[in-house]
Amino acid sequence: MATTDVKQPSSPVTQVVAPTSRLKSALANQQLLLLIVWLVMVLGFSLKSPIFFSVDVAGNIFADWGPLVLIALGELIVVISAGIDLSVGANVGFSGVIAAFAMKALTTAGVASTPTLLIGVLVCVVVGSLIGLINALLINYAKLVPFIATLVTLGAASGMSLVLTKGAPIMGGPAGGIMLSVPWIGPFSKPVLVVIVVVAVMWAFLHKARFGRYTYAIGSNAFAARAAGIDVKRHIVKIYMLSGFLAGLAGFFFYLRLGGGAPTSGYGMELDAIAAVVIGGAALAGGVGRVSGTVLGALILTTVTSGLIIVGVDPSWKRVVVAVLIAVAATLQALRKSEGGAS
């Protein structure tokens, strides 16, 4: 192994641990492009319907952005490690439902609002992380590819949500919960501000810490990463548990917004997360992706949703717009890759 590394001085691992300045600038371009796309969207929607450019609409957009960016960041880490997590959407619904049952029971038992909500968020992230742990165990020890492993947990979690709730929403939790999702400072509600802090932490994790270096290394070349002394299996556990943790947090976010848990919450949301990640410039082949890209990718998706409703265009057009964005982003990614390969 080591000799092979010597023979290939420009092996992917070294490339990623110390990204070349050109790769860096190319990625920076993608972020700038996304920012321009987003600004053009905001301008376009505002010109068509001036009410779009308001704190109210921004509040709606951020309320959608919060849970999406949470699971998209989890998805980003998984994608950078050359995996995929299809279970995040089902995880959102399942963790929200379990927490809703817990909070309903506590409220019925007369427990006050704040401790109930704190236990609720704890239940969400624990349940979410456990689903992530199951994913990792299936990948590491049952030797399933991530697509299949997370397809298994997607089915199990969404099925269990329906079985446990019989399809009905579960409410009856703390009465004040729903008011937490109301904008607090400008368009930002308290949960959205928490999400912004989480985004900052995730940025540091991925771009400034060993966790991130390992993740990129595994996604670029798992064999080389193992040869370099990284405990790949252990890191896979961390990655999928973190993705599950973030999905659980998104489940709690939805709980606050809806004042209850719903078994169909988050259904199919894994595809929105993957879309945000791909639009943000990550490559499904692994080793590439930035937090800032995913954050903007998620923001663009939620801006389209609200924008189309406000200007009064059939929201089904969102799918078409998103499809075009994915095609463009993936093409840029492919061009960048082939350019890199030619050197």
Partner: protein, 346 residues
């Protein structure tokens, strides 16, 4: 090393494409079927003793069908029959339903209550069942050719939509000559129940409430958070919005949350559909002006009763070819007893 990296990338890329394809088909992962329950009653005066009655419904996850199951379980137990209750866990589609019907017919039931997810696609299954000597009834929806079907029992979605229009008009204090803005939250453009309810609603508005303008509709794709986003944006776009018709439980939950968060409870009339227990509670607090409830348990009871009458060889002249069970409007004037009666089990 390089080769293996490439192959891994390939796998992931294929996986990504496959997941998009899965999404494009709108299919869920749970295409398997689950036998929910089968119990046999032992009532003395049963007319259906030892008979097997199969129920194949649309989608197990829907509380509507859960409520129907209660009626089916009750009535089969009372009649001394064995109930075979089956259907796809989540998907309301002929593609998943047809194999379930085949599987059920292989168990040689005496009677079959079928809730066809498509009037034409399920027709051959009815022909097959009747050829095998099984007596068939339809509930909720029906196959195109009703000649071989003993009876068809349904709630009336168009009537439900019309009742929702009346409830909205009451909720906003409708007066002729005044203009009102109303929006409708739907699940999808194609769900037949949605279409029928919306048509009933529009027809009633046009006929009786010319001052009401339906300014917008949007789709939730069965997700309450999407319904919530839709309503939040409507409240921004139409600050003078008067009413919301949330066409199903999911839209009801999303709209109820939006009104509560924005402090608009009671200011914007909200009429929902389906009596989920937690939504029924919100009638008391004024979040829902009214809920339109169906009575799936009664639909199931009547279907089982009709089948048992036929199977026991009794006089079948009392069995009607088509029975419509009216929807019920639940609002703050509804008695507690009625609220309990019509609330779906969960």
């Amino acid at each position: 090393m390089r080769a293996s990296t490439t192959s891994m990338a390939g796998v992931v890329a294929v996986a990504g494409v496959a997941s998009l394809l899965l999404a494009a088909c709108g299919s869920s992962n749970s295409s398997s079927t689950v036998a929910a329950s089968s119990g046999s009653g032992s009532a003395a005066a049963a007319s259906c003793n030892g008979k097997k009655i199969a129920f194949v419904m649309g989608a197990e996850s829907d509380p509507f069908f859960q409520a129907m199951k209660v009626g089916a379980t009750d009535e089969t137990a009372k009649q001394g029959a064995e109930l075979i209750w089956q259907g796809d866990p989540k998907e309301y589609s002929p593609a998943t339903q047809i194999p379930v019907v085949d599987q059920v017919l292989a168990q040689k039931p005496d009677g079959l209550v079928l809730i066809p997810t498509d009037p034409d696609a399920l027709q051959p299954e009815v022909v097959k069942a009747v050829a095998a000597g099984v007596v068939v009834a339809n509930v909720d929806t029906h196959v195109t050719d009703q000649s071989q079907v003993l009876t068809f029992i349904t709630g009336d979605n168009a009537d439900g939509g019309a009742k929702a229009a009346d409830a909205i008009a009451t909720g906003i204090g409708y007066k002729d000559g005044t203009k009102y803005k109303v929006v409708v939250g739907l699940t999808s453009e194609t769900a037949t129940t949605n279409v029928a309810r919306l048509e009933g609603f529009k027809a009633a508005v046009a006929a009786k409430y010319p001052g009401i303008e339906i300014v917008d509709v949007a789709y939730s794709q069965s997700k309450p958070e999407v319904a919530n986003t839709n309503v939040n944006n409507w409240l921004t776009k139409y600050p003078d919005l008067n009413g919301i018709f949330a066409i199903d439980g999911t839209n009801g939950q999303g709209a109820a949350a939006a009104l509560q968060a924005k402090g608009l409870t009671g200011k914007v009339a909200l009429v929902g559909y389906d009596a989920y227990p937690d939504n029924v509670k919100l009638i008391k607090t004024g979040v829902f002006t009214a809920l339109i409830a169906q009575d799936p348990a009664t639909e199931a009871r009547q279907a089982v009763d009709a089948l048992c009458t036929k199977l026991s060889g009794a006089d079948t002249s009392g069995i009607q070819k088509a029975v419509v069970i009216p929807n019920v409007v639940l609002d703050k004037n509804t008695t507690d007893a009625d609220l309990t009666k019509y609330t779906y089990v969960a």
